[in-house]
């Protein structure tokens, strides 16, 4: 493959877009609910604060990943559409 070549298979790209969309939908996005018994605590203030921070940070991080996966999925579908419209 060289960078001078541009081509695409629209059907395969649409399939890729669908896979990415599915992956984005399957991501665990919200912060853990810990429905079994409320917020977990160790009794140590510093450790509890660190646990709370990392849980919130991971949830936010996954939210950002989900946004990029969704955008990438959309780009794949639009690129497929562009090549299909262009007759590729």
């Amino acid at each position: 493959m060289t960078t001078q070549r541009i081509a695409a298979q629209p059907a395969a790209l649409i399939s890729l877009g669908a896979h990415l969309g599915g992956a984005a939908a399957a991501l665990p996005l919200s912060a853990p609910s810990f429905s079994a018994g409320g917020r977990p605590a160790t009794g140590d203030t510093a450790a509890d604060a660190a646990l709370h921070d990392v849980t919130a940070s991971l949830a936010a991080h996954l939210g950002e990943i989900e946004e990029i996966v969704r955008l990438t999925s959309r780009q794949a579908e639009l690129t497929a559409l562009a090549f299909r419209v262009a007759g590729g």
Partner: protein, 406 residues
């Protein structure tokens, strides 16, 4: 002293982080599968590089997040048992201290004149209770140290998991129309149109160009173009002397657009639909002569088309229509002599139909003109005639003859 720690809650939190790790593992697997699909040639070129970079970064980010959740789940699970044991040891210590206090209270309530045997028994109970408190305190101190160690490990795991990788950038704008050209220029690639004939083109590009005469160098116009084809038959095979037959033949084709058509600019529209129970064709070819025959029976056809285009290598204008139901058979032949190719054909028809076509132009040094017309109402006929003059060949012939003289 109130202890906010609940081993059951910590265990369920560990389970939840473990489930999230498994979900993220599945998402990372999907990302790897998508990337391998792209690597197989689904999308090649600059846009493929952007997609691959993004997908690679996403897979790495998902795996990192999965590892963070796994570490967190493990650290939470490791803290459950030490906390439960410390709480149990503290309960035992509390009970031992309460018993010692009760024994002290009972002893202090005895009068000085009490039975010496009862006094001795109480003092022994106090000694046993004190010994029990000492053992419980030692056990609790060990359990508290163990709990403290596990909680510190959990805090360290939380701080480590918080260090997540930088997220990849999304793949950017869609590669469509003029953007395609911009991408080419941005990457310092050849700005001019690429040559036809397979040089520097991918198989996908070649197929695309063969289908509709497009060039990736003119993406804007490409977007205004479309083509659809369909064909099929119940069975087909070869006939003697190089012919072919098709039973249950059907065809459908539509194309249309404006802008770039091959190397020219113009507009084009076509439509064709055809269905015959039997279709047969054959032909013969020699150096300067060509002859062919065709037959259609048990069906009909309708078609219409128009085209007007002009470019640096010439121009073309054509238009016509066909409508026919019935059976027909025809022959045609052509002869090419000294740069002039004449073509003629006749078709005998039985059915109902009408057709008229005109096609003319100049391209690649060749002047072409072809006319045809037919009419059938019961019996009928269609005549075709055309001429193609290779101007370049005719003009250069005298010079070539002079050059070939000894």
């Amino acid at each position: 002293m109130h202890d906010a720690a609940d081993p059951g809650t910590l265990l369920s939190a560990s389970d939840e982080h473990g489930l999230r790790a498994r979900d993220l593992d599945g998402a990372a697997g999907t990302m790897r599968m998508v990337a391998s699909g792209l690597a197989a040639g689904t999308l090649v070129g600059p846009c493929a590089s952007r997609f691959m970079t993004t997908l690679g970064g996403l897979a790495t980010a998902l795996i990192t997040a999965r590892s963070a959740h796994e570490e967190l789940a493990d650290a939470l699970r490791r803290v459950v048992a030490p906390i439960a044991e410390e709480q149990e040891a503290r309960d035992k210590l509390d009970r031992a201290e309460r018993r010692l206090s009760e024994v002290h209270t009972r002893l202090s309530g005895l009068p000085a004149t009490a039975d010496p045997v009862a006094l001795a028994r109480s003092k022994q109970e106090i000694e046993e209770a004190e010994e029990e408190v000492k053992r419980a305190r030692r056990r609790h101190e060990e359990a508290a140290r163990e709990r403290d160690r596990a909680v510190r490990a959990l805090a360290a795991a939380c701080q480590g998991a918080a260090v997540l990788r930088t997220l990849p950038a999304p793949p950017g704008e869609v590669v469509i129309g003029p953007r395609l050209q911009e991408t080419l220029k941005e990457r310092g690639m050849r700005p001019g149109p690429r040559r036809a004939g397979g040089h520097g083109l991918t198989p996908q590009e070649l197929r695309r160009i063969q289908r509709n005469g497009l060039s990736p160098a003119a993406p804007l116009f490409s977007l205004l173009y479309g083509k659809y084809g369909d064909d099929g038959a119940l069975s087909s095979g070869k006939l003697p002397l190089g012919g072919r037959y098709t039973l249950g033949h059907r065809a459908f084709e539509v194309s249309g657009g404006a802008g770039r058509i091959g190397s020219d600019y113009g507009a084009r529209g076509d439509f064709r639909a055809e269905a015959y129970a039997l279709k047969a064709d054959g032909g013969w070819r020699a150096r300067h002569l060509e002859a062919g025959w065709s037959a259609r029976a048990g069906g009909g056809e309708v078609s219409a088309g128009a085209e007007a285009r002009v470019g640096p290598d010439g121009f073309r204008a054509r238009g016509g229509f066909d409508g026919f139901v019935g059976a027909k058979a025809g022959v045609e032949g052509s002869a090419d002599v000294a740069g002039v190719k004449a073509k003629a054909g006749v078709e005998v028809q039985g059915g109902v139909g009408m057709s008229a076509h005109a096609d003319g132009g100049f391209h690649d040094g060749k002047l072409k003109l072809q006319l045809s017309g037919g009419l059938a109402f019961g019996p009928g006929a269609k005549l075709t005639g055309g001429v193609e003059v290779d101007v370049r060949k005719i003009v250069s012939a005298p010079f070539n003859a002079i050059k070939s003289l000894p």
